[in-house]
Symmetry: C2
DNA sequence: GTCTATAACTGGATAGAC
DNA sequence: GTCTATCCAGTTATAGAC
């Protein structure tokens, strides 16, 4: 999983730099390691802080110093562990990716094993969406930040996005496959369009921007995932069913 | 419309600075003014360049120098016209906001005048969404960039977002009102949740991130708004109808 | 592993000549 | 209006001492 940001501004100066040649201490970013005096160790505090800040302000809106301050470590330590800001960003994204992925994949295993031939659109959408929303809802603040960051990245038109998101592609194909079993006569294209709308709704839900709170006059809160969950499943399932059962011309129109 | 970004890093130094006290040349950012030697004048080129870059990399991902270079003007000129980077950002957002707003508002006027009592959910959703998608589809590159920027801002969890988005709130209320006429027994809450999903789908569509292209193996292109338009209307209308006609417990569950 | 110090820049902003 | 020349705070990143 490699994510690079390299617009002009970040470009290195003409003079040769040693950056990247330094033998960085390649500390794997797996698991939650040993504790130190009862609290989480530094590297993880740094990841937590970075997760928090990046999720709110994006890559460029955050400085290494801010991260270090929030993590309560020395500024140089973040570089010691993650070498570059980009490295830190990647590490944050990677830290929870595998767990999320396998958890959602298993949900599909269970669903398909349980339902056999009787899969439904609702079931497929719920399987795709619920493990994720549950973590976003019941997880600690770190999880909430992580998903906001994922949302931010998913919505990013620059090239920071691609890499991690494509890591989740198999899940999308799994969703498509199951929905297709529920709606056999649908063209793949339509399924992908519907997925697109689903993802958009999901992304905004995970961002918890607060706009809904304001426009609804406090009637709805964008962080009320308990209310969002059943409605989103129903909304999207209905959408899939409607779009996919209508005949439509094959191509772009 | 005031949008401020003020995380620590941008904070001014303790020493008093004259920033903001300078008598900035308050050039209004309205209309498309006189031309100069056959091409668009500098201020507009700056806005175009900023629109382009901000829409792709966000506020912090862009430097004033980059904007100036892309606009083919001197770096100091951007400051001359817009005083601060934030001022430039705001000006970009404001430039097209009023036109978009009134265009969409008029669409509702026409729709309601035409349909009388026979408003439908499809009709309401289409009225909300189509004027915008049409511009995003048929407009020049500037319009495409503008809408991507709007999407980016709509998805932003930091406080850069609120201001312009709430400028469009009346449109949201208009949508809710019309849908309510089509589905009279619906609780407002449900309508706002559905709007939330609609907005999410719309936001992602306007971002044109290219992720859909990859995950679908080229079957769908995220910038193919001609295909998106009818499907999004149908998808969201079905969602509204399904969620809003199901009885559900009043509150958060 | 952790902190101090600092190199080597970048970026926003402005004064003041044309 | 436009451009040159800066100012200077803040930024990433890295030695090198503890």
């Amino acid at each position: 999983m490699k994510i690079t940001r390299d617009n002009g501004k970040t470009a290195r100066s003409p003079v040769s730099r040693v950056t990247k040649l330094r033998p960085k201490p390649k500390r794997a970013t797996v698991g939650r390691p040993r504790k130190v005096d009862g609290s989480v160790i530094a590297a993880d505090r740094i990841l937590d802080a970075a997760e928090d800040l990046f999720s709110k302000r994006g890559f460029d809106g955050v400085t290494m110093r801010e991260v270090a301050i929030l993590a309560n470590v020395d500024a140089a330590l973040a570089h010691y562990y993650f070498a570059t800001k980009q490295g830190l960003f990647d590490a944050v994204l990677e830290r929870r990716a595998e767990l999320v992925f396998s958890e959602r994949m298993e949900a599909f295993d269970v669903y398909e094993a349980t339902q056999g031939d009787k899969v439904t659109v609702e079931g497929a959408v719920a399987t795709f969406v619920i493990p994720l929303l549950e973590r976003a809802r019941n997880g600690d603040i770190g999880w909430k930040n992580y998903f906001r960051l994922i949302a931010l990245v998913n919505n990013d038109a620059s090239h920071v996005a691609p890499s991690i998101m494509s890591y989740f592609d198999p899940l999308v194909h799994r969703l498509i496959t199951v929905v297709k079993r529920a709606l056999p006569d649908t063209r793949e294209e339509e399924l992908f369009w519907c997925f697109h709308f689903l993802t958009g709704a999901l992304t905004l839900a995970l961002s918890r921007t607060g706009r809904l709170d304001r426009v609804s006059g406090g009637l709805c809160r964008s962080d009320d995932l308990a209310s969002i969950e059943p409605r989103m499943v129903e909304y999207c399932a209905a959408g899939f069913r409607s779009v996919c059962t209508h005949d439509r011309k094959p191509a772009t129109k």
